[in-house]
Symmetry: C2
Subunit: 371 residues, 2 copies
DNA sequence: CAGCCCGCTCGAATCGATTCGGCCTAGAAT
DNA sequence: ATTCTAGGCCGAATCGATTCGAGCGGGCTG
């Protein structure tokens, strides 16, 4: 009565530590000690246990039992606001992820990819129920609050990258507003007065389209809002368009819309990401608008953009360092130390996509403020 | 008004299902049923349990206990042969990862990133001890055999992408040899006879340098070997250099070495990845060698390479489909169905980096085999 | 020679949830 | 009215490993 080929020693089930102990002639507790090495066990005994284990083909303690008892799973979750595909298309995310792995290296923990897209169905392993010791929330997800609440109830410590949770969750962020302001000031000093914006999405719906007061007010995305404020600090009346995601395609679309009418064409565009900036440049090329002669474009991130011919003027943020800081914060949290927020600063990299505005304003009796 | 209510019932420890059951006035088993919904429980009771849970701030069954009992953790491991940073720099890997998430979607499982770089120290969660239900081995890791053995002992089903394990592990692969042969034939038909190779690493040490019989014989990397064979099918005596990793930098270095001596310059280079090909092209530009006029370059993968000006002639492989197939194989395996290997085919994309060889061979009385 | 200390093992409890068989009760059928 | 049926609920065992305190024998010291 055996469905499987029943070898002499192997029952249907995999050997457990108890089996090993029995074969070695010791108690389960001793066998456990022999493995974890955290107790006084004679070398002879330990060897006997190991021998028994190898005879049984025992591959070491089952992580499930272990994590139940220990209360730790050795896994750190990374919560992405988008599906994995989208996140990995964003070079900034990848760099942060890499930084995170560096940061949590001392833990020797694994990285579990999670998304907080809505409810998890059935047996799904979501943020609500994943065997993680801590999580890193990546990106300013609109539904971040929901996730944080779930984690709090589960008693799982969290660190947020670029997402104000307003709680006891440590934040890893950058000077979004100040950085953008510096970039805007640079454009202003070049002589630009007619500046358009291309922003990251503001809300969970990822509404694409013209910037409206309603949209801005309803923002649940801090990064977009902060960068918007930084731009407005210098160009109070600047307006533009919101993209649905940070991608070249979205930037292209926004760029087409902004540059469509030659009569009302900005002399500069402040894009909230390098990918969006690249898209705007692509749109400019399509429409025969020269960059930077007729249009200056400013990006944000400091990544190398695939296929972009220009050396983009952009605000370079330390993505890897951000990730690493988040990882280190997780380590601290798990060690019981108090959470510590960090704010990095970005630097303006001047490339070849920005320059003085063209001599004659694109028509339209705009403020000729320069004598 | 108490954010952290220290209610009469809440001790230092988090509530368990038993606590909830007690408060609801039912047994733990009933409470469990109320949550899993897999048994007959009256609506009234269920509601009472849920109410008790919310009163206690119970966030649902602990995944540790659940997975111990159920024997499933709801996590699928992805074993990368390199550190995460390196893997995510490779667009092919990212695409495969994305495909995997698609493939395992019906499982609702999380993805745990693992690397099989050597032994795991201390409490590290490695391939030896990770709470995974199955794993996908990505890439032809030299130490793959070791990983497979560990998994077999633990009884964890695995699927390998591009790595011959020679066992009962289902393989997801592509026609590396045939595809490369087709590419080589294309070059031959253009008139090339003097072709150099730039290969992926052959061994665990990632030895960089000239191809030698020793190196080729000692190969533990099937992808590199297969593609090499495909090239040799057409150019039996072709030689070249092995790169340490698939990257533009490595390709650049190999390209410099291959093109250094104007007297012994190949008219075409077969690179085993697009990144390597891009590096070779970069080297050619450095040295003033025109592509494709003086040098044809063939890549492999079909990705868009960052910053590359050309439309690379390459063998396009279905990376996402490979990942998806692997994910689907995992689902099958977990469902108890027999493993199923898949082999995809690549297609030759002719871009602008290949053309006929220059009129006068690069000097050196090389085999003027064409009359 | 007796007593004490120390190092090694063992038992038993615990972590938190799930599952299976059995019991109980209310309503229905005869 | 009695028996049958079935839906609901409970008890207890189980998953696999870890941990803490107790026991026990041998070596060292006074």
């Amino acid at each position: 009565m055996q469905t499987d080929p029943a070898p002499r020693t192997a029952p249907i089930t995999r050997p457990t530590l108890a089996d090993v102990a029995a074969l070695a002639g010791v108690s389960a507790s001793t066998a456990s000690l022999a493995y974890s090495g955290s107790g006084p066990v004679s070398d002879a005994t330990k060897e006997r246990v190991l021998a028994a284990a190898s005879e049984l083909g025992y591959a070491g303690p089952d992580p499930r039992g272990r994590s139940l008892r220990r209360g730790r799973s050795g896994i750190v979750g990374v919560v992405l606001e988008e599906r994995v595909r989208a996140a990995f298309l964003d070079p900034v995310k990848i760099q942060m992820l890499d930084g995170i792995t560096e940061g949590i290296a001392p833990l020797g923990a694994g990285l579990l990819l999670l998304t907080d897209t809505g409810e998890e169905g059935g047996n799904a392993v979501g943020i609500e129920s994943a065997p993680v010791d801590a999580v890193v929330l990546v990106g300013c997800s609109p539904r971040l609050g929901h996730s944080v609440e779930a984690l709090r109830r589960r008693g799982i410590p969290a660190v947020a990258i670029e997402g104000a949770t307003g709680d006891d969750v440590p934040q890893i962020s950058i000077d979004n507003r100040e950085a953008t302001r510096r970039g805007a000031e640079y454009l202003r000093d070049l002589g630009h007065t007619d500046v358009a914006l291309v922003t990251l999405p503001f809300d969970a719906a990822r509404t694409r389209g013209p910037l409206t007061p309603d949209l801005e007010r309803g923002s649940t995305a801090d990064t977009a809002s902060e960068r918007l404020l930084g731009a407005r600090d210098v160009f109070p009346h600047a307006t533009g368009r919101a993209a649905a995601v940070s991608s070249i395609e979205e930037g292209l679309e926004a760029g087409r819309a902004l540059l469509a009418d030659p009569a009302h064409r900005p002399t500069a565009v402040i894009a909230q990401s390098d990918l969006l900036a690249a898209g705007v440049i692509q749109a400019a090329e399509e429409l025969g608008v020269a960059v930077p002669a007729e249009l200056s474009v400013l990006g944000f991130d400091g990544i190398r953009v695939d296929g972009l011919q220009h050396d983009l003027t952009t605000l370079v943020q330390p993505s890897v360092a951000k990730g690493r800081a988040a990882g280190e914060a997780v380590v601290q949290l798990l060690a019981g130390e108090p959470p510590e927020s960090v704010c990095f600063t970005s630097t303006l990299h001047v490339g070849d996509t920005t320059g003085p505005p063209p001599r004659s304003p694109s028509a339209a009796g705009a403020t000729p403020s320069r004598p």
